[in-house]
Each structure stands twice: as C-alpha cells, then as structure tokens.
Symmetry: C2
Subunit: 627 residues, 2 copies
C-alpha cells in the first residue's frame, strides 16, 4: 500500500488525485454496504479535497483540540464522502470503511453522529447542519474567542428549508465571518430536479440578501475552489461566507453523471467496478493538512464573579410565577458558572430570560422569532462545551421538535425552558397554549421533563438542569401562585414531594405545576368532608418517582386522581399510569383529568374550571372514587 | 349612532376617518378586555382601511361565497384590528367588540380562529399565516380557478421565521400572482427592536430574491397604500406581491408612538380615553367595499373519471410495503373523488405519493424539502374544501409540529402520511427513524392515529381518512410484509382485528404495523410450547378499540404484551394502557416492549432484535408473564 502524503503545499494535480480517491472510496463503501448515497458524495468530492488539504486546520489525532476548525456535513447523506475524508486523514482505516459503513453496531452510521469524535453534531434531517454551525461559530467568536473556522457543507435540496435562511440571517446579524457555508449545487434532489436547478444567480441573490458574502464557482475547478476557500477562510469582514459551487451529481462516473434516478442508490458491484476503473482505481493517499493555530485561548471571563449568588428561594405563601423564578435562578447560576449561556426567541420579557440578558449580556444570544435556530444555536454551543438554556413560550417549542429530536441524537446537553403552558394562560387563546409539550418532550430519547409548582422548587430544578445530560425541559407557568416549600427542601430530578399524607388516606391526588395548587385546595375541601387525600407534587415527570407513586397507590387502595393542564395523551397522566403498571401496581382506579376539548379565551380560572382540572373538579373526582 | 357608509368610491379623507375608527376600536376593545395588542393594531390600521374600502372583494353577509377574496392576519396578535375591521364591515356589532373580546365562551378570541366565519385559518403562532395563504392561493389558481386574491397581513418580527421564506419560495415557484403579503414594518417586536428595524431595503432584497414583486411604501400615506394595493390586486405577472409598509407602532397616539414597552399591553382606561380623544373620538362608519366577482367558478375537472378505481387489496401472504399500498389507494381515491389532492416533501418516490403525482398531476403539489410549508399548504387547501393528503418521512413531520398543532386549532381536515417509521428502516440510522411520531400525533386535539400492518388494511384506512375530520395520521412502513387479510374485511377507524384467539388464551399480544408480524410469529412459537396467545392488530391507535382490548385483558387475566417500534412514551403502549385503565380494567400485568435506547445503523431485523421488539423478545415477554 503506497502511502503518498499530501500537504497544504501539494499541487492541485495531487489534490485531483485525492478527489478521485474520495470518489472511489465513496463508491466502495456504499457498494460494500449495499446502501448509501455515492452520487451525492461525488458532486462534493473536489470541494472537500481542496478544503482538507489546504484549508481545514485540524489535528486529526486530537479531535477535541480547542483550536481545531469544525467540519459539519449539513447534507448528512453524503456520509460516504465524509468517511472517505476521515480515511484520507488517517483517522479511520480502509478496512473500517469497507466493513463498518452502515453496519449494525458500527460507528460509521448511515448519517454522521457524534459517536465519531470528529463529528460535532448529528445531521441527516436536512437544513440543520448550518443552523448548528451558527451555534458553534457563536461560541468561537464571542465566548471562546478562538480563530477556528466552521465549514459547513450544504446540499441544494436543503436550501428549501426555511431553517437555512434563519441560520444565514443569524450568521449575518452576529457577523459570523468565521462561518463558511459551502453549497453543493448539483441540481438533482431525491425524487427529481431541485426547484432552482443550476440557477446559481438566484441562490446568490438570496444568500446576499440574507447578509452573506457570496462566491460563485465551478465546483469541479480545483483552482477556483482553492481561490474561494482561501478568500472565505481569511474573511476579515463581518459577514459569513457562502460558496455556491456548481457541481454535477455523480461526477467522475459517466454512467450516472447528472442523471436522475441515482439518489440514495449504491452502485451494484459491476457498476462499482466500472466507476472505480473510470476514476483511476483505488488510492491510499494520506493528507497532512494545516494544523490548528497554536495561539492560546483567550476565553472571555464571565461578567459576574464565579462565586456569588445563591440559588433563590421564596417565602412560603408568597405568590411568585415559576417563570420569574426561572429568570432569578438563571442569573444566580450564571454568576457561579461561566459556562452557562442563555438564548431566547424574542419573548425574554415573558420567559424572564431577560434577567440573565441584563446580568450577563456577553453570554446571552437573542435569536428573535426563530425557534428552530434557537434550538440549533443551543446545540452548537453545547457541542463546544457550554451549558445553554434556551427559552420561549412552551407552545413554540413545537416549532423546533425536529431540532430537539436531532439534538438528542447529537447527544447534546440542552436545557429548554417553556413558559406560558396550558389553558392557565387565559386570554391569549389556544395558539399560545402548550397542551402537547409534555408528550413531545417525554418522547425524546433520554430526556428529562420537569414541571414545578412554586418558585423555590423551580429555582432548585434550574440548578439541577445545569448538571443534567441530554435534553432537559422545564415547563413554567404564567400566573403567580403561593410558595409551598420552606428552605431546606431538596428537589432531586426523579423525585416528588408528598405535601399531605396520613396513615389512613383514602385517595391520592397527583398534580404538577398549576394543578398541584388545585390538588391542595381540593384536599382541604375533602378533609372537611371526612375524606383524607394524599397530595403528591410530581414535579419530575421524567424520570418519575415510581417509589412514592407506588406507595401512595398501595396506601389508597389504587384510588388516584391525576390532574394536568395538557391534552390527555402522553403527559403527566400517561407518565404516572405507565410508572405504576411498570412497578406491577395492578388494581388501579384512576381518574385522569386533562384538557379534552379545544379551549378558547377566558381567564385562567375560568379555563381551568372549563377543562375540569381545577380544585372543584379534582375534589369531585376524588369523591367519585371514594364513594 | 351615525352610520355613514363608505364605498370604494369614497375619498381618501373618508378612508382616513375609517382608519381612525379602526384605531379607536382597537384601543377600546383591548382596554375593555384588559388584554391584547393595541399598538400592533394601530400600525396597520391605515393599510387595512384602504384595503377593506377599495380592494378587498368580499361579501360580508356570505363569508362562504366562493368568489370572496381572503384576508389572513398572519400577525394574529393584531386581532383588535381584525375585529375592528369586522365591525366596520357590519359583521360584528360594537357591543360584541366591547363585551366579547378575549372573554370566556365568546368567539372574538385573543388570536383569530375559524370559529369566526370570516377567518380561514387560525393564526397566533407567527410565520404561519403566509404559508397557509400559499395553500389558499394554490387552490384559487390551480383547482378552483377563481379570480379571488389572498391578502395576508404579516408583522415584521415574524419575518425571522424561516417558514415565511419557505412560503415566498413556493409562492414564486407556483407563480401565485393572486397572493399579496402586506408586511407591517413597525420596527418594534415584543421585547425590543426587530433585527432589521426600518431597513426596508434589506427586506426588499430578501423578498425580491425569493421571487416576489416588491413595493415599498410609507404605510401611513393613504395615497401610497392605495397605489400599492391597486397594483398588487391586479398583478398580471407570475409573481406574488410583497408590499413593504414602513409604519409606526402605536401610530395615532403620541404617548406610545414608536416606543418600546407597549407590545401586548392594553392601555389603562385613562390612557385609552386620551388615545380616543387624540384620534378624534368614537366613530361608527360602515364600509361597503367591493364585492366578489360574479364570474362562475371554472373548476378544473379531475383528470381521471369520477367512478372507476376500486380500493386496492393484496393477496394474503404476498409481501407488500404499506407505503406502496398508500400510493395505490391514493390513486384509487383520487379517481373517485376530485376533491382529493396530494402534496409531498420531495420524497414522493419513497412515500409512493409519486403514484398519485403521475395519475393526477393537476392535483399534486410538490413542496420540495419544506415540511412546514407542506403542512401549511395542506391547511390552506383544506380551508378551501379540498381533501389534502400530505406525505413525507414520518420523522420529518416533527419539523412541522407547530403547523399540525395550529391546523387542529384551525379545525382543518388534514391527512398526514409518514413513511419509514421506526428502527425498521435500518441502515439510514436514527436521523431518519420516526420514534416520537405517535406520541406527537396522539397529543394533537381531535386527532386520528393509524398504523396498519398490511397492504389491504392500509388501503382501506386511506379511504377512511378521506372521510375523517380533523388531523388524521397514517404511519407506513419501509419494508414489505405479508398480506394478512382476505377480501371482505372492514377496518373502521377506532377498530382493531383479533388475528388469533381461543377460549383459553393465556396472554394477549398487541402490535401495530411492523410489530404485529412479530406478534404473529411469537404466537406460533408460543403455541408450540403450549402457551395460547391472543393477537390483536391495533391498527387504530387513536381512537382505540377499548372493547376488544378490555375483553382480551379479561380473557387473559390481565396479561398483556405490547410491542411498538417507537420510544416508550406516548405511543401504542401508552394508548393501550390508558384505554384499559379508563375502562376500569385493574389488575394488569403489562410487558411493554419499545425502543428504549438510541439506535444506530443495521438491518431492520438486527435493529428490531436489538430494540427487543421482535418475535423472539415478544415470545420471551409472554413466557415471563405466563410463568
């Protein structure tokens, strides 16, 4: 095996050989797997060959080296090309390429994920790599203050996703000259030609209008690529760069070049042989490209001192909104932990993220009304080791569900905080009422779902979220409700609180957030009637406190009332009953109170009553169960 | 009460009086409600005054008149202005405005919904009205072939949503000259200035780059507004029109004009009095604007004959993918029902929507990779009485969850079809695996969730979806599996099928889609061991067949195995156990098999085994329960 080495000083003829290798290896790996996207890889091979040889500053032996550039394949289906790059860099072996790609239990997955150390974020749902890259570039420019660049390879089909334009908008707003989007305009999508085909002028007008510096090139002209990457990599201005590269899908293999019907199809072995022959055969070139800049990090110090503010607590009985407690707690957390950053979707005065924005302006990123970019930027910041808290109205996280799902696949530690949940918000009506958020967030792999009822528990849980892996979600409430817990209580994730109990309870009332207050009021009413109710604050909906719930079910003969300000499916009720069945608690009599109709406007109290989830309905349900 | 009437021939001085009335009424209604967005209404009052007097062709007494123009408030929080327009049109009374706005049980909700007959679609989640308007305009131009125009009022904050750019992209792709977006650029968002402020040139460059004809005006100059609306309304070209109107938030009341801190805040009564005084007092002008064109509809006939194709069925034992059956069934349905239309997110060769696209090209709309616009276009088409079927990979409907949620608030009848669900898809890896879709779709109000296991039942359910109200969702599978049902079976929504049963069953196995085949194989294995298993095809997950499930639970002593290709939360298991508890079935022993870890690539069979949801694991769970 010849191991000819390429360096940044190698000729473009040598780079052309590398490009051929990347194509050949894309063909080989996908044919060996019987699955994959060789033609989508071949269109971008020249771009990647020049980039990795001359411009990508990367220490392949030290993927976590902080000065490394970042390479994100937003067109994640071009994974054969990415893995061919890894082989050319000496990071994976040819054997792994040929036996590991798309195989069970292997790390060279169908679309790249961070199980590979050289991958920052999972891609494969299109239009997400560039938004994620904005988050990485924000970290580089404003927090780490390092010289690394973020290179993102985009496909042309994904330019139909609005999220791409949210990303360019934020990249120009934040003057991310360290971000380069390389757009592989190969004209053909999965099921046919793209909307704009090879109209590179149309793409250029769009990218320029969204604030990017645009370079249009022939994506198979190595000298042109070299010039564009040089210019982009040294961008001294205040704009992100978009390189629009006109390319040919399947480039290098005449049988498929620019032909429809070859998306997502590996070549059969005989065709693969012909492709490899046409491309000049198998090569094993090794690239020693540029190394990261050795300059030490100049991490910006946190604004406030690192010791300092204690987690806030609120007097028992005093009314405070849990969203206000979120803001207070985030400020305290930010004062202690310089890795804490916050983002919001232009509702920071409602979510109370504004308190953090004022206290730590250098660590606050306004994402305006672009919830997809909000979550993507958090994902990119998390990839750089920061602890992002992203907030908006709970209802509007539905806008970013695909990004949250992909964040879980990325293994990103994201803290999401949704305010104004449920019918409790009142007059604004159903468009602003999160009634699906608990179901949505619970279904995310490895997620944590929290819904506290008072200020003190909220503040404690915000602090806990900072140390929580994966996607954690905190649901806060619009209105102000009395403090429940004196100082000295702890609120571990996965726990619950028994607020009323006796040795001879008749029924268990389970609430979270606003409905917990209804449960407490109902218990008082019931006590006067001689019915003893145990009341549980189920502030941790996932994971849920199986032990406490089981004990209560047992103590109250399986009689349980669950009240939630959410549609009946997938929320608190589902979590509680699922946990009890898992724990082997049979013989249950459950009254599940939830929002079963489409709400309109009204006061919070009117709507809680209308939905049948207020104190009166909770008491009535308990009476029915204990009759 | 003076009832001066305005007509299209009234002077602009008279229109100015109307604009003052719209402002005054916006102030009055929001102050009376103690809630709402008067300043966001006041910025757009001049635009609406000219539009409703001179250009909006609308019969207010006949909101369902097919020739009516359409007026969509994408900035739904400007509902005080919309309702003031309704008053000026004589559609609602001043009394309703003053006592009904944002009140419990009333129809003038905080954000507009179609409980009002003059509202096409619910708005309030920003960036959705324009995408919905694209759907209405598609119907007008390509299906109804009527001369109506679609006027959409957009805010400037919402222009940060990528969905707005998806909408303009599709509007220009489909040459929707019948669509006019009026953008109210008032510079101030909820929590501060917008990104681009009054940089109308920047907005103009973006809108032009996305294919719109752009007119930039002073949004308080009635003559300029008049000129722009005239030009837009008669657009003879092949482009949508964007009118960029520079406006002042709170215009007309000097205390708040262009001031921060007044978003979403009604004026206290004393301020409201001053505002009304400054605006010249209360008026009761009545507008008799232009009427819809009397020209008869020239509805395009359906391509295929209206009788014709029968619902397909597939031989028992023959392997067919349910996604293929979807395509076949949709073609048959389309042949019989000219109201059936289909849309896809550029994966039509995978979802098999391509079969409909070929059979009925005039009723197929390609939305490319823009899932938000995919669902929004379906919502707009549904608002015009069509029966849209929108398909993409099941995983990618997460991209459009906010649009699906808002579709439910709109009361839209949407048929969504997600292919390639679960780990069964194999090599492509987790980014393409829907593992949260059942939870997401079940939590939508009034939704129907279907997951058939064979071709014949799939085809029957596609037909049933055409007659189903609300959001219905069909989950299809990538691979081919044996046909299970001979001709003559029916598959009602809310039903299930018992595929194996006896009088002395030991355990119930419940599956849907791919896992049903595992249940059947497991039952065969178990039978050989002397364990008799009842097998239920739970193809209708919502609504669910409580009767059959309860009977099975009773017959098998509460011993139930549920297997699903989905994360454990909110899916089939949650639906089954919730139904059994609701039915009063206590004493359950449930084994819930679901995808509990993060999958990678592999074959479908490898991954079903890895997840513990294949026949072997189902049989093992049944053995444990029956020990």
């Amino acid at each position: 095996m010849t191991m000819t080495e390429l360096t940044a000083g190698s000729s473009l003829d040598a780079v052309a050989e590398l490009a051929a290798q990347l194509r050949v290896d894309s063909v080989r790996s996908s044919t060996s797997a019987g699955s994959g996207h060789p033609t989508s890889s071949m269109s971008a091979a020249d771009l990647l060959a020049v980039l990795m040889t001359r411009y990508l500053r990367y220490d392949w032996a030290a993927p976590h080296e902080p000065g490394n550039d970042h390479l994100i394949f937003s067109k994640g289906h071009a994974s054969p090309l990415l893995y061919a790059v890894f082989k050319a860099a000496g990071a994976v072996t040819d054997e792994e390429l040929m036996t590991g790609y798309r195989r069970f239990g292997q790390r060279l997955e169908g679309h790249p994920t961070p199980v590979l150390p050289w991958v920052d974020v999972a891609t494969g749902s299109l239009g997400q790599g560039l938004p994620d890259g904005v988050g990485v570039a924000l970290a580089g420019k404003y927090l780490e203050r390092r010289a690394y660049r973020v290179w993102v390879l985009c496909g042309d089909s994904e330019l139909a996703e609005g999220s791409v334009w949210e990303a360019l908008d934020k990249a120009s707003h934040y003057k991310l000259s360290n971000l380069v989007a390389i757009m592989d305009i190969n004209r053909l999508g999965q099921s046919g030609p793209t909307e704009l085909g090879w109209d590179l002028d149309a793409y250029a007008r769009r990218a320029e209008a969204f604030g990017a510096a645009v370079l249009v090139i022939d994506g198979h002209d190595l000298a042109a690529i070299d010039g564009a990457l040089a210019k982009a990599g040294e961008a001294a201005g205040e704009q992100p760069t978009v390189i629009l590269a006109k390319t040919i899908k399947g480039r290098g293999f005449s049988e498929v070049e620019d032909k429809e019907g070859w998306h997502g199809r590996p070549f059969p072995p005989d065709m693969a042989d012909r492709a490899i022959a046409e491309l000049g055969g198998i090569r094993n070139l090794l690239v020693r490209g540029p190394r990261p800049e050795p300059a030490p990090a100049v991490e910006k110090p946190a604004g406030p001192p690192e010791d300092g503010a204690a987690t806030p607590s609120y007097p028992v009985g005093d009314k405070v909104a849990t969203r206000k407690a979120y803001g207070d707690a985030l400020v305290a957390l930010g004062a202690r932990d310089p890795k804490v950053v916050a983002l919001d979707g232009e509702v920071k005065n409602s979510t109370y993220a504004i308190e953090f924005a004022r206290a730590c302006p250098d660590r606050y990123f306004e994402m305006f009304i672009a919830e997809q970019q909000l979550v993507a930027a958090a994902t990119g910041l998390a990839a750089r080791g920061y602890k992002p808290f992203a907030s908006t109205f709970a209802a509007f996280f539905t806008r970013a569900y695909d990004f949250i799902r992909m964040g879980a696949i990325s293994g990103a530690n994201l803290r999401l905080v949704g305010s104004h949940a449920g019918v409790e918000i009142g007059a604004d009506g159903p468009s602003q009422m999160a009634l699906e958020d608990l179901a949505m967030m619970r279904a995310v792999h490895g997620s944590t779902v929290l819904y506290p009822a008072d200020g003190t528990s909220t503040a404690a849980l915000v602090e806990a979220m900072a140390g929580t892996s994966g996607i954690s979600y905190l649901r806060t409430t619009r209105g102000s409700y009395p403090g429940l817990y004196p100082d000295g209580n702890t609120f571990p994730i996965g726990g619950s609180k028994v607020l009323r109990s006796s040795d001879d309870d008749d029924v268990t009332l389970i609430g979270a957030g606003v409905t917990l207050h209804g449960c407490l009021d109902a218990a008082t009413t019931l006590a006067a009637e001689g019915i003893s109710a145990r009341v549980i604050d189920c502030y941790s909906i996932k994971p849920i406190d199986i032990g406490t719930l089981s004990a209560a079910a047992e103590a109250t003969s399986g009689r349980i009332v669950i009240a939630e300000d959410h549609h009946p499916e997938g929320g608190l009720g589902s979590a509680v009953t699922g946990a009890l069945l898992t724990a082997g608690q049979g013989d249950l009599s459950v009254a599940h109170l939830a929002v079963r109709d489409m709400p309109g406007s009204g006061t919070g109290a009117e709507l809680l009553a209308w939905a049948g989830i207020d104190a009166g309905h909770i008491a009535a349900a308990a009476r029915r169960l204990t009759k």
